[in-house]
Symmetry: C2
Subunit: 336 residues, 2 copies
């Protein structure tokens, strides 16, 4: 399976490392072999080689700051833009991990159209296209006879999507409730430990959980994007951000946290998705709820089902190898 990696930041590099370190094992176990033939970054160059790029050389080059540091080899093409790479490369799958834009989904959405038009499957870590254009993409993919997978968009590689769409097949899911943003859960956990909101946010930023501009996390927008993806995936229902109640955690005070503690509860930023709609709301939940035990940067989701009752999955919601594995698990499924 030949791969075009569009976006080569932490997530793309995470996938490359896994393919390097586990390539032989994956080939022996599942007959899966993933060769990176194209890599596109926004400002650090692009590369294409129809016979495949060397992963160690790729990682060394990007580690030095630019793909120009990749060695010259016969047949290598440098400097094509991302759209040209997608259209002209011999890749079987586009792996998209550029930055999420929840207002326009661009430029990733155009990359998706180009991938399907040129006969490529799509594997996404970017939330934008799935959140904003899932129905359209699904229909285009169906017509093209190609697959779109997006496990890494919700809870990184922890198989939240695969659980709902695969292992729970035959159950009717009536609701999903989850903690889908690690930064805010980390901050709330530290506030329970007595830290102020500002200090906890600073620590989350120092640890790399939170961006320099933390609005997307603490304002609930990252979680809202995941809610829209779940609404599309579980209920075939497209939602717009403006249709949802989205509240972040910026107004939660130390006194609020303390008050919850005194009644045996915890504040969590809870995403709720049902066939009727979705919301992101800071919520006091009792300790008996499995979500109450989810602390720090960990994520979790509870699916309410007809035959099994509640099924909860707890695991990482971010991280280099974690999100890289999310992409890999989609590739393995496509390769079956």
């Amino acid at each position: 399976m030949k791969l075009a990696l569009i976006g080569f930041g932490t997530v793309g590099q995470g996938l490359a490392e896994i393919l390097r370190d586990k390539g032989a094992e994956l080939e022996a176990q599942s007959g899966f072999r993933g060769d990176i033939v194209a890599v596109a970054t926004q400002r650090r160059g692009t590369l294409y080689h129809p016979d495949g790029l060397d992963i160690d050389d790729l990682l060394t080059a990007i580690g030095k700051g630019h793909l120009d540091h990749y060695p010259d080899v016969l047949g290598l093409t440098r400097g094509w833009d991302a759209l040209t790479l997608i259209k002209q490369s011999n890749a079987d799958v586009m792996v998209e991990s550029t930055h999420t834009n929840l207002e326009t989904a661009q430029p990733a959405l155009d990359y998706c159209y180009a991938a399907l038009d040129s006969g490529k499957h799509i594997v996404m870590a970017n939330k934008g296209p799935i959140a904003l254009a899932y129905a359209d993409l699904k229909e285009r993919a169906r017509r093209a006879g190609k697959l779109i997978r997006f496990e890494a968009t919700v809870m990184a590689g922890t198989p939240s999507i695969r659980l709902a769409m695969g292992a729970l097949r035959g159950c009717k899911i009536s609701a999903a409730k989850g903690i889908l943003n690690g930064t805010t859960n980390y901050i709330l956990t530290q506030m329970e430990n007595g830290m102020s909101y500002a200090d906890a946010l600073g620590q989350a930023q120092a640890l790399g959980y939170a961006e320099a501009d933390p609005t997307a996390d603490v304002g609930g927008w990252d979680a809202a994007g995941k809610a829209i993806i779940l609404s599309n995936a579980l209920f075939d229902k497209p939602l717009k951000l403006r249709d949802m109640d989205v509240f972040g955690i910026t107004h939660i005070t130390a006194a609020d946290v303390e008050a919850a503690k005194n009644t045996g509860e915890k504040w969590k930023l809870i995403v709720t998705v049902t066939p009727e709609g979705a919301s992101v709301l800071p919520t006091r939940i009792p300790l008996s709820n499995p979500l109450a035990a989810v602390s720090g940067g960990t994520n979790a989701i509870t699916y309410s089902t007809d035959l099994l009752g509640d099924v909860t999955l707890v695991g990482a919601g971010a991280g280099r190898s974690q999100t890289g594995f999310g992409l890999l698990s989609d590739l393995l499924e496509i390769g079956e």
Copy 2:
């Protein structure tokens, strides 16, 4: 897909109800159609009809205490023993849900051999054959070109096996730790609420969690059987009960539970499975461990992996529709 149900107690009836209630939906969604052609009970008769049995009539008959109450229809055969049913019926799959025997796995093991010899896939809720003879059955199935699936043996239909073998494919699992017996977890939870061991056990029996003879549950043997299944499935390592440390909860006192509470911990009966071996041990775990939040009859399992870190699944560990769904999910996989 024609099914022979060997065993028609709670679990088999649970599957039959799901097939009745969801048959049309499953056929529309997945093209799956499951027809029950044979049913065997130990003391309540057996039935076979090559064109399929009527599920409502089956449930009515067994509700009256014996399959003799099933109406006479042309082509119906009554009274074949289970082995004859398996060998002579036109079923594609044997669904085995007779009583677990962890010492001999019989008579279920002979049923498995007969099923494979006569060209049938196997779906199991019975823990015995998988715990005692997995490697042998897997090899016989491979030679026969048939599949063996056993989701329902661990955590009922909560997809603990499917998560490990399917969704986490590509990750290396180094350990599984879980709460895999609902009766003991219910008793320990009630003891935390101030109830005595004896009262909690009585309540578990009254609620149908615990058998009249609770030894298999409170002695840790039911959990040990599941540990052996996980050892086989995850690590291809057959274990014997005598190779494992198995301790139940009968020696846990109210004072023990109180002492744990005072240090912010909880007693849980923890199954641990690694490539080196397995154990069932009452263990004090901190509240920060997701397993600590698993209360009442609920089960949970944590897989430790290389790429994702810990992934925890929480859900039902028993129940009519829950275990029935476990069987159904295996049938859906076989039907793919």
